[in-house]
Amino acid sequence: MPLASIIGQDRTIALLRGILRRNIAAHCYLFSGEGGIGKTQAAHEFAKALLCREIPDDACGVCANCERIDAGIHPDVRTIGGEERQIKIDEIRAIDESLGKKAFEGGRKVVVVRQADTMNSAAANAFLKTLEEPPPESVIILVSSRPELLPDTIRSRAQNVRFYPVPRGEIVRMLEPEFRGEADIRSRLASGRASLAVDPELLKRRDEFLDGLRRAVRGEAEADQIWGGREEIDLWMDQAIAWLRDIVAWQASGSSALLVNADREREIQAAASRSNIKAVSSLLSEIYRVKELLRFNLNKQITFQYILMRLAPVLR
């Protein structure tokens, strides 16, 4: 999947391809924007494109460089972060040491830092030193959906490349040929994330979420059956938020126009009539807060039980 195939980020992708075409890559980029809109994939493809031997402004995906970057074995390309823990100083030191050497194969050296905002403060300090004196022929790509958590000193040294949620109308247009009957509901559920909109599992996953939620409220499912890794929790939270917002939207407007889960109108209506708008709104802000706190190693089991307890009256 080259840069050209990244959906819904035409202007940003055009910017990146222009940088490649004119061969004017900066030392450090910050790919920022909401989760799930293609930043990480774009960073990976941009890294490939910087070293691709076949296409000047994109990644061919099949040359020796593209293939090895995909396999994670290119000597001059390193990826860190994106795991369920903080980025530690050792990882930054290893990156720094590697960038401190000339490229093994003579081209550029590229580093991708996924979820760059998960650097702990020691790591961020060490990383700042690297940015202050960027090694020649090196390109560092920071990826973050929470750029505000990065120190100013790092942000100010990176060129910001913004990724935006895609307007719903655009997603509908994009979906129409392939997903005729589902274009509307898919565009709603994707909420601006084009890659999600075309995910074959999208509807199935939402249904599983609702089903799991019901079973959990009835005590038939435990946290670890529903909450796997951090990404799953994030996704679960997003779905819970969408569900609660739908309830609030129904309570406020009594119309289905604004619903994400528009195909579940009847259930939303039922839930809306069971509780008042103030209670659901406060529950919603509580979930936002828990989502925030989950970045700091909250106990999964306890957090999950707590959320269920709060959700139960609305769902029952």
Binding site: R68, I73, P75, L99, G100, K101, K102, F104, E105, P136
Partner: protein, 368 residues
């Protein structure tokens, strides 16, 4: 791929790459070696993405091809196997059969296409030197390099080939000590070359040099330095950036000369350091006519006093040195005598193998 090799030559080939293969690498392919048989014969390759080695292997080839084999495991097997000849065969799904005598092993390999490409080494200019000279020059400088220093250029050896002086100068320094060794350039280069070879690569190059009696070729490429001998090619990435101007720290006007027997001085420093405070590790050197006294004292332990007879006729002088650094350099030196060129307790000392103009060290003095 299927080939038969003598146990002895395979073992020798595997020994060469053991220092490079990373057994605990997070990238599993890097704990593997590539065994290839093709038009250009049979070769073993290994890399840790900083250093890459390729070496020839004499083998009876039954069918050509390549296999990616866990390098440490193969080495252990070959070391223990009870047979003069070993047959290696690649099967489907990257399985590898290793047979010798009555032993049969079946190892899980990796797809050959995942192995990192061997860097392009064409086009560089080369110089040649006796393997023993290369080993010596690295030995005399490597100890002085930094280890994990934030100034990356210090974590390696400067190789400075200067056609206008006709010399290859190799330098190591960590900012507290400096070692400079040089040799005549045995080839003419079109331009001056200054590259910084990482510590680990320098150590591997020394091992390579120690394994042969033949001349080693050193090629200067843009991004790497290549050592080749006996068909073995070792490539190292280079450290970015420029090397500090080390000539600034070499004192120019040290007039006092102290000459002593190297092993006697070494022994005296080692013994004097035994009671030294661990952190500062300073030994005191008091020189007077004909006598050098190394001493240390430690409020928690006591004192040591080690006199050595030396040739010295200047005014009495007292200096302090880092004991570890002094031991390192006296150990790296050869020859019976060493000469220290001194000025006062604040000016760095120059230490030479007496009579050898191709090598010297500079030691920063410490407060006593």
């Amino acid at each position: 791929m299927k080939l038969t090799v003598s146990r002895e030559s395979l073992l020798k080939g595997l020994q060469v790459i053991q220092g490079i293969v990373e057994a605990k690498s997070t990238i599993s392919i890097l704990s593997h070696m590539l065994l290839s048989s093709g038009e250009n014969g049979t070769t073993i390759s290994a890399t840790d993405l900083e250093i890459a080695v390729r070496e020839p292997l004499e083998a009876a080839v039954h069918s050509t091809g390549s296999a990616c084999i866990p390098a440490k495991k193969l080495y252990e097997i070959v070391r223990e196997i009870n047979s003069q000849e070993i047959t290696i065969e690649q099967l489907e799904n990257n399985w590898i059969n290793i047979t010798g005598g009555r032993s049969k092993f079946r190892l899980i390999g990796l797809p050959e296409k995942d192995f990192p490409q061997f860097p392009d080494i064409s086009g560089g200019e080369s110089i040649t030197m006796a393997a023993s000279d290369l080993s010596d020059i690295i030995n005399k400088t490597l100890y002085a390099t930094g280890d994990n220093d934030a100034r990356y250029s210090l974590n390696g050896l400067l190789f400075h080939a200067n056609p206008s002086t006709g010399r290859l100068v190799v330098v190591g320094t960590d900012g507290h000590r400096l070692a400079v060794a040089s040799k005549d350039l045995a080839a003419s280069l079109s331009e001056e070359r200054k590259v910084i070879l990482p510590r680990k690569a320098a150590s591997e190059a020394r091992k390579l040099a120690d394994s042969t009696a033949n001349d080693i070729t050193i090629s200067f490429n843009n991004n790497n330095l290549v050592f080749s001998v006996d068909g073995i090619v070792m490539i190292s990435r280079l450290i970015e950036g420029s090397y500090p101007n080390y000539e600034q720290v070499i004192p120019r006007n040290n007039e006092k000369r102290m000459k002593g027997t190297r092993t006697e001085l070494l022994g005296a420093v080692k013994r004097a350091a035994l009671v030294g405070r661990e952190k500062t590790f300073t030994v005191r050197l008091e020189i007077s006519e004909g006598l050098a006294v190394f001493s240390s004292n430690n409020p928690e332990l006591g004192e040591a006093n080690e006199p050595v007879e030396v040739e010295y006729s200047g005014e009495p002088l007292t200096l302090g040195f880092n004991a570890r650094h002094t031991v390192d350099l006296l150990q790296a030196m050869n020859g019976e005598f060493v000469t220290m060129e001194l000025q006062d307790s604040l000016i760095p000392a120059i230490i030479r193998e007496t009579g050898n103009t191709d090598y010297f060290c500079v030691l920063m003095p410490m407060r006593t």
